[in-house]
Symmetry: C3
Subunit: 244 residues, 3 copies
């Protein structure tokens, strides 16, 4: 399993025991797998923006990567636990819209409802008790421990989301808009301003706000050597318009 990649995508936050306990399960059940923290601060309890973030970033990983995805405000309730196979990658997590964009964009996808049951299942931490053991089994090459399932779909969600879905450490604000879906001349309207699209930070003066295609293909709002979130008043959920 030395090359097998398990990627973590959650809203657990950076602190606390949750990610560590999931990793202990993964390393117990899939020894030697490479476990990588992608996001531990995905939009908290908000499957919609998380879905656009996940679809853009998961697509960067190689085939057979297992994405363990826990943005799960309904844990312990009725939502189904899912396994998704989409474009040769595996996804494990709750049936709450988190995989909506992965499913839509996939050339080929299959979905299972998890039937695996652990010896002990807590009411509030299915990431550790249910999703992690399943992710480990998929990393080991086991068949999906589930039965075919039709997931809940969200047909009203747009193909491209004109909202901020993540604000990073530098204050750069990532949108749910794929650069490839926009005209090359398109600009972004945000906070009463229209921002030109540039190639990267060093192409604009210090302090200038702009938008650009980030390293994962999403449009991102930034300020060279400044914080776009502070300058423009942006947070997860802030709206943007595409100005053709």
């Amino acid at each position: 399993l030395a090359n097998k990649l398990i990627v973590l995508f959650s809203d657990f936050g950076l602190a606390g025991p949750y990610t560590g306990q999931m990793k202990a399960v993964l390393l117990r059940d899939a020894p030697g797998a490479a476990v990588v923290d992608l996001f531990a601060d995905a939009p908290s309890a908000e499957p919609q923006p998380a879905a656009y973030l996940l679809a853009a970033y998961a697509a960067w990983f190689p085939p057979d990567t297992v994405c363990l995805c826990v943005v799960d405000p309904g844990v312990g309730g009725a939502r189904a636990p899912l396994i998704v196979r989409a474009d040769r990658r595996w996804y494990v997590g709750p049936d709450n819209g988190l995989f909506e964009q992965v499913l839509r964009r996939a050339a080929k996808a299959r979905v299972w409802r998890i039937t695996f049951r652990p010896a002990a299942l807590s009411a509030s931490f299915h990431g550790r008790d249910l999703f992690a053991p399943v992710a480990a089994r998929l990393a080991r090459g086991d068949k999906p421990p589930g039965e075919p399932h039709v997931p809940t779909r969200f047909p009203d969600w747009p193909a491209e989301l004109g909202e901020i879905v993540y604000v990073d450490h530098y204050g750069n604000a990532i949108t749910g808009l794929r650069a490839a879906a926009l005209s090359p001349d398109a600009r972004l309207g945000v906070a009463g301003r229209v921002l030109a699209r540039m190639r990267t930070f060093s192409d604009v003066p210090v302090g200038a706000a702009f938008c650009y295609e980030n390293s994962n293909g999403l449009m991102e709002v930034a300020v060279n050597r400044g914080r776009a979130d502070a300058v423009l008043g942006l947070m997860v959920g802030s709206k943007l318009t595409v100005v053709p």
Copy 2:
């Protein structure tokens, strides 16, 4: 050592070089061990609440796990450096009360004072220079590099601590009370309110405060889709009462 688990419990914080330098020592001296971050934000410089948190979370890990525990405000002073074997798990850290609850709850326990001395011992970072090399040796299966020792005990500390011992990323407030030690009908008095005990988040309305047994057996105060710490004014050290 592919399956050997070393768990980190500290108040080092998430940032800074301390955890990374400890991991470098662990991976040098116990190559192939699985090193998992459990808490890097245990109660800062407060061995008492940390002791209740540690005892509850360490018990979740399998036999022979090595817990490297550094909440050590007296580093460089007179407190002894310890190795503890309790219920088949190893603990390494300072003799300042951090292991009080682990020792009390153990069916069987032994304690050594570390006699191992590294080539270079800094005055302020025994986690890296002393405790990590010892933890690595235990993970490798070496005998405890120490001599039998009677640790400092804290008989005045209660069996169950009616205080908040940790506030997580969601604002949930973990107490030092074990659910199994309370009557199933018991409620918690906190911040002038009495909170009913429920199964999990999805069993209460959005915005409702409640208490429940968390996934490690501790009573926890929470608000469904809200922050209990903000709503109820809780932080580490806030007091609670058990309402029978």
Copy 3:
């Protein structure tokens, strides 16, 4: 590669996908290497203080460690991508002063400009697309994929930097001054006060401010069981004087 150490030094912050994506590349190209987070919160976009921090902390790691260093405000612009071999350690990162102190202090050093080009190179994330694949190749034992290069030098920078270069989780403020370069009796002038040099925290009363040689040989300003940054108003860039 089980013992091969790759150390990460960046200003990416703790959150977000950047470190995780770099690790995925490292583990893909150098399977089995031990990847350790040293600093993810090096001085943001400030190569000068970062250079003093890096030189002090990288020197602690064993020979042949690969340090992947990304404090790179000019990413996508004209600055060269470098490989440095200094005192038997490898460094990979931008030519912007980040390696100035490593180069000055090395008994022997060589520098290459990276000529390796990945299949896809983003404009804004050379850490993932360029520096990480090169670091992995060095960890594997490949020859440096570059050509000999004369790096930009910063002769005006002092040998010892009388500034705060890092504030840690406890509020301790690390300076760019090496303890070994100061007289043993030297004190530090900071925020209108003169601080005596002590051995460690437990040697001063609770609440007392002092300075001491930290576990990596840098002078550090601290308050026993308090926050030096808050008590003395310190942040990265705050000035200090040496009082002989």
